[in-house]
């Protein structure tokens, strides 16, 4: 009986809570992306971040739930796997992620959202800056 209980626990744990995944997905769909002026950016931080960039674009992403340095590491790692990303920085105090892209092509906001969500946080706004 104990063996059976152990196997059931190990195998079924993800399915017991499958409803939660649906709820989370629904919340994700309801995210609102805001352009431009609604996003609070520290000019000094932007200046420092872009000082060594040669063109391209910078995404300033407002993130909910990014309260810890250790947790934000995953965001940096995820974006650095993208070959068009040259630099990533995090501002924990304002809940912002700065991402430098070396391309002039339009950046896919949905992809930014997906990568943040893959790390377990939510995007509330994205502002694109041309360098």
């Amino acid at each position: 009986m104990k063996k059976l209980t152990a196997l059931i626990l190990l195998i079924t744990t993800p399915y017991v809570v499958i409803a939660d995944q649906s709820a989370d997905h629904a919340m994700h769909q309801a995210d609102v992306f805001v352009d431009g002026s609604a996003v609070d950016i520290d000019p000094d931080q932007i200046k420092q971040f872009t000082a060594d960039l040669q063109g391209g674009q910078v995404a300033v992403v407002s993130v909910m739930g990014m309260v810890c340095d250790f947790c934000a590491r995953g965001i940096e790692k995820t974006f650095k796997r993208d070959k068009s990303v040259t630099k990533v920085d995090v501002d924990l105090s304002k809940g912002k992620v700065l991402i430098a892209f070396d391309t002039e092509e339009p950046i896919d906001r949905a992809e930014i959202d997906r990568k943040i969500l893959a790390n377990g946080q939510n995007v509330t706004a994205v502002q694109m800056l041309n360098i």
Binding site: G65, F70, R73
Partner: protein, 170 residues
């Protein structure tokens, strides 16, 4: 992840395909009876609530020794944290062929300063823990430090002895 306290020494490698769950292997030496087991572990994020200034998590955890299926555990743990405050709890029921036991803890902490990304982050905490193998609750101070991908937590009390938790994120 390495963990050591009065009840056990543990070394745990895990991989998270998504933020929703992780799978891994945990080698445990039970310091009460000297037994050693390797558990296949599954941790599932049951619920997460992100706000602008906080995050709350609730996890289910389970593990089973594939060599001896009579050894397994299950439980829950959770936390709520801001950049300044932390609270967490955990409960685990361990089934053993000699004697089943339970581990419980609650933990509260405050960050004395708010570091920037990449700085050394420090938390001063208090933790209360009970293992039914040893009886009553034990409460003791804990120091948590992390920087970059490294994390270390140290607690000590006369009753529970050292409570050490080390982690590195690859």
């Amino acid at each position: 992840m390495a963990f050591s306290d009065r009840a056990k020494h543990s070394l745990y490698y895990h991989y998270s395909p998504t933020y929703k769950y992780s799978v891994g292997v945990e080698a445990v030496k039970n310091r009460h009876n000297g037994d050693e087991h390797s558990y296949l572990r599954l941790t599932y994020l049951l619920d997460r609530k992100n706000t602008q200034g906080s995050q709350r998590n609730l996890y289910l955890q389970s593990g089973v020794d594939p060599v001896d299926l009579d050894h397994y555990f299950y439980g829950v743990h959770g936390d709520w944290e801001t950049r300044r405050l932390f609270s967490g709890f955990g409960y685990r029921h361990v089934v053993d062929d000699e004697v089943d036991f339970e581990e419980q803890f609650v933990q509260f902490g405050v960050a004395p300063y708010l570091g920037d990304y990449g700085d050394l982050h420090t938390w001063i905490m208090i933790k209360s823990k009970k293992n039914t193998l040893f009886g009553s609750w034990s409460t003791y101070p804990v120091l948590r430090l992390f920087k970059g991908n490294g994390f270390a937590e140290f607690g000590y009390s006369d009753q529970s002895q050292w409570d050490i938790h080390l982690m590195y994120r690859f």
